[in-house]
Amino acid sequence: MLTVHGLYTEYPNERGDIVKAAQDVTFTVEEGRLFTLLGPSGCGKTTTLRSIAGLERPRAGEISVNDRVVFSSSKGVFVSPNRRGFGMVFQSYAIWPHMTVFENAAFPLQVGDKKYTRAQVREHVMRVLTAVQLDELADREATKLSGGPQQQLALARALVMEPALLLLDEPLSNLDAKLRDRMRFELKRLQRELKITTVYVTHDQSEALALSHEIAVMNQGRIQQIGRPRDIYENPVNQFVADFVGNTNFLDGTVIRAEVQDRCILDTDIGRLAVKFAKPVKANDRVAISIRPEDVELAESRPAGENVWQGTVEQKVFLGEAIDFRVTVGPRSLLSRQHPTLRTPVGGSIFVRVNPEKCVVFSAS
């Protein structure tokens, strides 16, 4: 189990100013879980990961793994990275070009405090290489491997010493799209089988949604929301999270009146909108609404119920398994994802409906 509390890490930049790369980062990863740090470029994911690894020295905070404190500013503890016993996969994989595949994977066993006999080293290494399907290539020069196997080797090297914690920094971002999909499954299988506590860094939201038990969305050095993939996607706590995780339509609105059962009626650019909103509101409060494209329903004949408007198809983008419609409603245009069977032509008139339950409302910032 990993706990990170109040982590604060800064860097001096070229001009000597201070960049607050991670601020007040707090989270817990349960034993055997895969936890993802997700966020745009430069938001401090790598910084957080490297602080956990011990490659950066945070200014404040506390980090402990399985109740062993590896860093604490208040107690003055800093365990150097080579004594933490964490496995780490770097974005560039950092495969040592002067060693073979086997030597790369054996390195952690040779330099660590624990001494292994040659036979033990061989056995351990071959076991992990088999797990990542590299056993056939053990004697190959490491630089002769292509992208996928290199990534697997980096993983094997991180796993060989049976680390208390596995740290992965964008391990799939250097692979081409096809390979990335395959490796994603492979990684998930391995993590679930070995039940190793893992912190995973990525800026790719679909990767995060597919792999994680839990996700922390970061922005500008701070964690915005922590939750299970479904929570993050369906109930983002603010506009940033809604925008970053998946596509969405944003509308600005003003409360006309609050109704019973957490419902309220809003005035928006496209007209009146009924939404479900748990927070207490009063008339004239300003709010923002996020509606996912797949929740914008389209129909050629007027559907029954509330939140229905008439619009015009402005543009269509065929994606294979789905088709994206851009529909003009009043002064706004909404994005809607549909099954390709809907064939309304561009310029055609169409009805738009939104389920009040599917609208996510935030107090306007």
């Binding site: 020295r57 080579n82 964490f86 780490m88 770097f90 070009p97 330099v111 991180a158």
Partner: protein, 579 residues
């Protein structure tokens, strides 16, 4: 060339002229390169098989020079001494340079950033002045350090003797340690820091990372650096001539010098030595080239990453900072101060209260009333500016041919232009001297022969600077200029040269600085009318005029320093960070 696209006849006539010009420029550059790089070498070989020519006896073919050169155990000793000196100096400067580079790139030693800039200063101090300064500091008779230590501790004998193999290694190695520092800094920087970090994460300690990953991965660079330093110190002339010759320690370069200056002059013997030296440097340069090719396998393995994590040295960082300061004192402050001190004396004395009372400006008066000072300065400046310009322009054309075209034989051209790299300065001087003695086209003894020598000697540097920036110019940029209707000469002048500018300017500055300090080639080629500043310093040394030499040396160093500052400032305007 806006006119060319307007009318069809315009294009036609222009094209014909353009094609001609292209081949004129290319042909001239290629012919020039071959002439300048190959001919002296051929004549050196030729001469090594000839007897000396005198008024009464014509020269004939002989193997006598080689017999004289290699028939004795003397030569074997010469070889051993040369190699011992070169090994000593190169390993010493490598060790110093690498330690400094590691501290600078990988640790949190304070004041590092200032240090990087400071460490380049020694490169502007000419070898001869650095050597003279260390003689004034550590010679057994007049060395300040020796005298002070003797006074303080009542020693009977001077503790240091600069006139020894150890002294030669110390001075030469120290002077070229900044070169090792630069090369190794570059090697450390080129390495993907996550290679080291992943070793740390695997549980390796600082020393395990340093030994098993950092040094192993920089091994090709280490080996190449040592070789470069070795080749450079075996070519070194000033240090062996000033420190070795007085006590009979001879190496190849100083033997060549003495063979030429003997009466009667033994050019054939000198050539035979030259050929031997050439063989050593050729093997070295070839090995470096092979290694750099191999090193790229490692260099390509870089990923995204910020500057590497720095090792926290704790309290030790003050020790490393003191090391930096001590180094700087030894390599810049002490040598400069001792020259400055002696330049205010009537005759050379150790600093004391009494000597302080006798300060004088006489040496500076001497320098400024020196009859040929103006013309000497002028020669130095004209030669360095001129050769820098010619080198950079000619090699830009050669580089274009080598990098951008598919002309068969371009690799040969590349090698020919880089050939002078294997010439030690004094061997090149010898070869050029022999050639123009035998082929009298009226430039022997004029400034032109030195001009040609400088261009030859520094052409490889021009090649290196231009190749690097030429590789970055995408061919499509030229092609699109051609599509706009520009001729080859126009494209070259308007597109290629401006894009090469950063490399051109940086290379120009470099060649200018190294040629203004040049001594070992000039020493065999100058005549009384064509002396340059470094030659005057050499003559003053031979005459024992130490204080006058110091005054001239101080002025010369200041001039070079100002030139470098101006060059950096100009370079900065063209977007070059390091001159």
């Amino acid at each position: 060339m806006s006119t060319t696209i307007i009318t069809t006849p315009g294009i036609a006539t222009h094209k014909r002229a353009a094609v001609d010009w292209k081949w004129v420029v290319i042909g001239a550059c290629v012919a020039f390169t071959i002439y300048i790089a190959v001919i002296p070498l051929a004549f050196l070989f030729w001469q090594s098989f000839r007897t000396p020519q005198t008024a009464t006896v014509p020269a004939v073919w002989t193997l006598g020079n080689y017999a004289a050169a290699y028939g004795t155990s003397e030569t074997f000793r010469l070889f051993l001494t040369s190699v011992q000196f070169a090994f000593g100096a190169s390993f010493f400067s490598f060790a110093v340079g690498t330690t400094l580079a590691w501290m600078n790139e990988r640790t949190n030693t304070p004041f590092k950033s200032i240090f990087y800039a400071l460490s380049l200063i020694p490169l502007v101090i000419p070898s001869i002045l650095f050597t003279v300064a260390w003689i004034l500091l550590a010679s057994p008779q007049i060395g300040i350090i020796n005298q002070l230590l003797q006074n303080w501790f009542g020693l009977a004998a001077p503790p240091f003797d600069i006139y020894s193999m150890g002294g030669m290694i110390w001075v030469d190695g120290l002077h070229y340690s900044p070169m090792a520092f630069l090369l190794m800094s570059a090697a450390f920087r080129a390495m993907d820091p996550s290679l080291e970090e992943s070793a740390t994460m695997s549980g390796a300690s600082v020393w395990q990372v340093l030994w098993r990953v950092t040094l192993k991965l920089t091994w090709p660079a280490i080996f190449a650096t040592i070789l470069i330093l070795f080749v450079r110190s075996i070519e070194s002339f000033e240090v062996p001539a000033l420190l070795g010759l007085p006590v009979g320690i001879e190496v190849f370069t100083s033997s060549i010098y003495t063979a030429v200056h003997r009466y009667p002059s033994q050019v054939g013997l000198a050539s035979a030595y030259g050929v031997a030296l050439l063989a050593i440097t050729t093997v070295g340069v070839y090995a470096v080239a092979r290694l750099s090719g191999k090193g790229s396998k490692y260099a390509t393995m870089t990923g995204k990453g910020f500057r590497p994590r720095q090792i926290d040295l704790g309290a030790w960082r003050w020790a490393t900072a003191s090391g930096f300061i001590l180094y700087f004192v030894l390599i810049v402050v002490l040598p400069f101060l001792v020259l400055l001190w002696s330049s205010f004396q009537h005759f050379y004395t150790v600093p004391s209260r009494e000597a302080l009372r006798n300060l004088t400006l006489d040496p500076y008066r001497f320098v400024f009333t020196y009859p040929d000072l103006a013309s000497t300065m002028w020669n130095s400046l004209v030669l360095s500016f001129g050769s820098a310009t010619v080198v950079m322009l000619v090699t830009s054309v050669i580089c274009w041919l080598v990098v951008k075209t598919k002309i068969p034989g371009r690799w040969l051209l590349d090698n020919i232009a880089s050939l002078p790299l294997v010439f030690p300065g004094i061997v090149l001087g010898l070869a050029i001297m022999i050639f123009y003695l035998n082929v009298d086209i009226g430039i022997y003894g004029t400034i032109w022969i030195m001009f040609i020598a400088y261009i030859t000697r520094f052409m490889p540097y021009g090649m290196r600077y231009n190749t690097t920036s030429m590789l970055q110019i995408h061919t499509e940029l030229e092609e699109s200029a051609a599509m706009c209707g520009a001729s080859w000469t126009t494209t070259f002048r308007r597109i290629v040269l401006p894009l090469l500018k950063p490399g051109l300017v940086a290379g120009w500055i470099y060649v200018m600085i190294v040629s203004i300090r040049e001594l070992s080639t000039s020493i065999l080629l100058y005549s009384p009318d064509t002396r340059v500043v470094s030659i005057v310093i050499w003559e003053l040394w031979q005459n024992g005029q130490y204080v006058e030499l110091s005054a001239l040396g101080v002025l010369f160093i200041l001039l070079l320093f100002v030139l470098v500052l101006i060059a950096r400032w100009v370079g900065g305007k063209y977007g070059i960070r390091e001159a």
